[in-house]
Every structure is written in C-alpha cells, then in structure tokens.
Amino acid sequence: MTEAAIAEISVTDNYEGGDVNEERSLASDAWRAMRRNPLFWVSATMITIFALMAIWPSLFTSTNPTDAILAQSRERPNANAWFGRDIQGYDIYARCVYGARASILVGVLCTLGTVLIGGIVGVMSGYQGGWLDSLMSRIGDVFFAIPLLLGAIIFLVSLPDFFNDNYFLVVLKVVLALVILGWPSLARLMRSSVIQVKPNDYVQAARALGASPNRIVRSHILPNSLAPVIVVATINLGAYIAAEATLSFLGIGLQYPAISWGIDISAALVGLRTTPHMLFFPSVFLSMAVLAFIMLGDVVRDALDPKNR
C-alpha cells in the first residue's frame, strides 16, 4: 500500500512538470534510500508472505483448520502436525495460516478507512480553516477523548445482531469500531501538515494562476503533505492488527468459528504451564505481522525524512 502511495506521488510530480531526467523529487529520493535499506526488504518479504497467506491460505497448508481430531488434543509438535494441536485437536499450523486473513483484513481495512476519513477531514479543515476547522476539531476531540479499547468494546456490544451473520460482516464490525474511534489522530496529523504546506509559494502561485481549490489540493497540497500520514498509517496497520487480537482475546471481536490469532492465544493461555506450544505459535505469527508493518513504517520514515541522511 505504501509503495503504491509513493509511486502515486512520483507520478503526479512528473506529470506536474518536475524534471523527469533528474528525478530528484522527495519521493524518488525516498524510494532510492529505501531500496538500499535491508530492513525494507525484510519487512516487504514478511508482508508479502502474510498477504499471500491471507489471500490463498491453501498455498501454505492442505490441512483443514476446522478439522478437529479430539484424540490428539494438545499434542506436541510432531511430523504430522508441525506446530502440534490445540485443545480442540485443531492443527495449529493450519490455524496460524488461516488466522492471517482476519488480522490482515482488519489491519488493511482499518488503515484504509482511517486514512480516507482522517485525510478528507484533515485536508478540509486544514485548507479551509475558520468555523469548519473548529467544528471538525471539536468533533475529532470527542472521539479522541474516548479510549480506543473501551470505546470499541461498547461499540461492538451495542451493534445489532445483523453483523454476526457471516464472516465478512463480523470482520467489518471490528473494522467499523476501530475506524470510528481511530480517524481523529490521522485527521489531526493531516490537518497540521496541510497547514504547513499551505503558505508555500507554489500554492500561492497556483491560486494566483486561477487554479480551483480542488486542483490545488489534489496536485499541490496532497503530494507534499502526505508523507507523515503514510508513515503513521503504516505503523498503525500493525497497531490495528494487535487491537483486533486484543478484542478477540477479550471475547468481543471475532468469535468462533472465525479463525483469528487473538482467539487462539486467548484459548491457549489456560495451557501456558502444560502446553506452551499452543500459545507460542499464534503469538509468534501475530508478533511477526505487527513487527513487519512497524518495521516498514520505520523504514519509510527514515527514507522520507531528509534530516536523517
């Protein structure tokens, strides 16, 4: 997602008459710095693997994750079940692979949702200013003041049963809760970076040439103010994955028969003393996914920050 966003910036830059041959725009510089960073390739590989797991879990395992063999319940890792089996006799490896879908889906959708809502609100209040800005900021404050986890719990419990019908609606329910409570931080960030970009000469020049506000925002303000949002959104993606697992752990997010790392970890905590493998493998998968996105965010930040070079 981040790569696509950055590619988009460089495309608009070139289109706007930036010298194609020289290629010294911030985005192309950042891309160059990023390619040289080994951490970028590590995190990109991890993210690709998790994305593949989410889309085609059958690529990684042919075992059915809901195939319970109760006779082998709590079995330790062996040749048949690489990661062992949990209390229900499910194959833990298969469940880890299939669990990626919920986490990645929640992470990606939450990030998209918060970036869209937060970005639009942030640009509007930063560019327009005045009463619209005050109104939007106060509304943002209201959502910001409610703690994320608590607000999400109340929100999830109060949703009608309609949302428990099928898998995607259940995931959507979690996404909705996290987006509704998570957009203000991105809106604040976007607003402040738009305010920083707005007084620049090229924006004034575009306005003097008679460009419409729409065009000014699209081709001058957005490409130059998107960097901090990209960084925070990438890091947040990892945080949302952790939040989904936490909600599932509390028994409020996803629920059986949905497969999620959070649910499996929650079920495995009782066996911490006797069967630690049940806890270990889903936790490693969850931590790796969160780590991959946080590392990518770090790399992108280093690449986009000229002070670090």
Binding site: I146, S158, L159, A242, T246, I265, L291
Partner: protein, 309 residues
C-alpha cells in the same frame, strides 16, 4: 495564562457533552433487557416492571433520557446501577486502584524510558543503541496479553518474585508492581524511541554547538539545553498515555485479577448497566482532558519560547 486556562476549560464542555452523548447513545442501543433475570426464573410482575422502568427513565426516548442524565450530572449525581447502588460509590472504590496502577505504569515508563532514550540517543549507532532499538521493536510487536501472561507465569509463578494475582481491594505497591510494568511496557518502548529520536535531532542543533563552544561540559550542554527541548514530545506522549492507560488497563486487570475500573466497565457493559458505563467513561474523559491541559501548561516550563498569554 488565566484567560488561556478559562478558554481551554470552556472548550472542554462541548467535548464532554459530545463524548457522554456518544457513550449514552451506544449504551442505549445495547441489545437485551435490563429486567431479564431480575426476578429469578419467572417474569417480573408488571407493577414492579413499570416502577423499575419509571425509576430509570427507560420509557423515555433517547434525547429525553440523555437530558435527564445531564441534569443529574450537573448536580454531581452519576445515577444508580440497576441494583440500586450509587454509581459514584462504585467509582470511588474502583478508580483509586486503576489510578494507582496507571501512575505506577507512567513512572515506570517515563523513568526507564527517558533514561534508556538518553543513553542511546547520545551514542547513536553503537551496540547499546542497536540493542535497545531491537528490544523495543520486540516489545511493541508482542501484544500486551501475551506479555502479561508470560510475565505472570515466569516472574510470578515460577520465580515467585511478585504476587501472581491481586487479592485485596486495596492493593499495595508491591502487589501492583508487576501489572504496572506489564501495562507500561508498550509505552516504555515508545518513550525510549521518542526520546532517542528527539535527542539525536536536537544534538545537531545550533544552540547545542554554541553551548559546547562557549565552554560548557558535554553533560551540561545535553542535560540542560538539549534535554529540555527534546522532552516536549515525550511529555505530550506521556500525558496522552495516562488517559489511554486508565482505559486500556482492562486487559492487565483481567490477567492479574485487579478490581479496577476496566473490569468494572467491562462487566457493566455485559450486564447492560447503562448508568455505570456512562458514569465511568465520563470520569475517564474528564481526567483525560485535564491531564492534557496540564501537559500544555507544562510546555511553558520546558520551553520558555512557548507562552500562553
């Protein structure tokens, strides 16, 4: 200064109103009937049900209910739970415990975090720096319920260094030490990284070079000049974090069996006890807003260029 504080206090009012309304509306939409199971295995007698609904204004539409609630709130009355216990009494029992836990977590994360951040910040790229960077990444990516479970098992059960669970309603500092460390672990990682980044950035600033070249020792130049400016984002984060910790203690409280506010809210949501949820969250929001005001006032102390007049 005085007018600034008054303006900020006035700005709080719409935020408090909005947040309480939001929570109120969500609680209003909670599915289920508070009268269910109230009278044992038979349905409640109609007279009792009618009196009950009358007492808790359950027959009114949402805006009227909210208006009545606000009227009571303005008089300092947080209402009664459906069991006829005053919500304020309950909160008085629970809040001190969570507040103690959160304050201990804040102390833990700020003392160790700032210390580690300074140590790594002044020697960027060294062995210690890389060690701290990697270990903070690991802590960030492991979800808090896994850290909590592992810490409880290894430090509490196996080594016996800390009590495994909290058993009293007035826990001692020693009893809360391990939960506080677990609660503050994620923020500890953030504080460390934030301090490190800001310090390295400020160490290159002109005024630090001036301070060194006019003959100050390195210790004084860093401690007195660079530190004060580097701490502003850190203080902002810690202030924001206090509110987040109060609300986010839900998971830690569950793991360590602490009778704090998180568990109280969780149980109230589950039993559809609206007054308790709204009351507890309202207090959380107010605390959060006041801590943020305090942080903004602290800026002036850290950086004399920032004034609130």
């Amino acid at each position: 200064m005085g007018t600034y504080i008054i303006r900020r206090l006035l700005q709080m009012i719409p935020v408090i109103l909005g947040a309480t309304f939001l929570i109120f509306a969500m609680v209003f939409a909670l599915p289920g009937d508070p009268l269910a199971g109230k009278c044992g295995e038979r349905p409640c007698p109609p007279q009792y049900a009618a009196a009950f609904r009358e007492k808790y204004n359950l027959n009114d539409p949402l805006p009227v209910q909210y208006g009545k609630y606000l009227g009571n709130l303005a008089k300092g009355d947080l209402g009664e739970t459906y069991n006829g216990i005053k919500v304020s009494e309950q909160l008085k029992l629970r809040y001190p415990i969570t507040a103690k836990l959160a304050v201990m977590a804040i102390l833990f994360e700020s003392i160790i975090g700032i210390f580690a951040g300074v140590l790594t910040g002044i020697r960027k790229g060294g062995f210690l720096d890389n060690l701290v960077l990697v270990s903070t990444l690991v802590v960030i990516s492991i979800p808090v319920f896994v850290i909590g479970g592992l810490a409880q098992y290894f430090l509490g059960v196996k080594l016996g260094l800390f009590p495994v669970t909290v058993t009293s309603t007035d826990p001692t500092v020693y009893e809360l030490a391990l939960p506080a460390m677990v609660l503050g672990s994620l923020s500890l990682a953030y504080v460390t990284r934030l301090t490190r980044t800001n310090l390295t950035e400020n160490l290159r600033a002109d005024y630090v070079r001036t301070a060194v070249s006019k003959g100050l020792t390195r210790r004084r130049a860093i401690g007195l000049h660079a530190m004060r400016n580097s701490l502003i984002p850190v203080v902002t984060f810690i202030g924001f974090d206090f509110g987040a910790l109060l609300g986010g203690a839900i998971v830690t409280e569950r793991i360590f069996n602490i009778p704090g506010i998180g568990g109280y809210i969780y149980n109230s949501i589950r039993s559809r006890d609206g007054a308790s949820v709204v009351g507890a969250v309202t207090v959380l929001v107010i605390v959060y807003l006041f801590v943020n005001l305090l942080v903004d006032l602290l800026y002036g102390l850290l950086d004399p260029r920032i004034s609130h007049d």
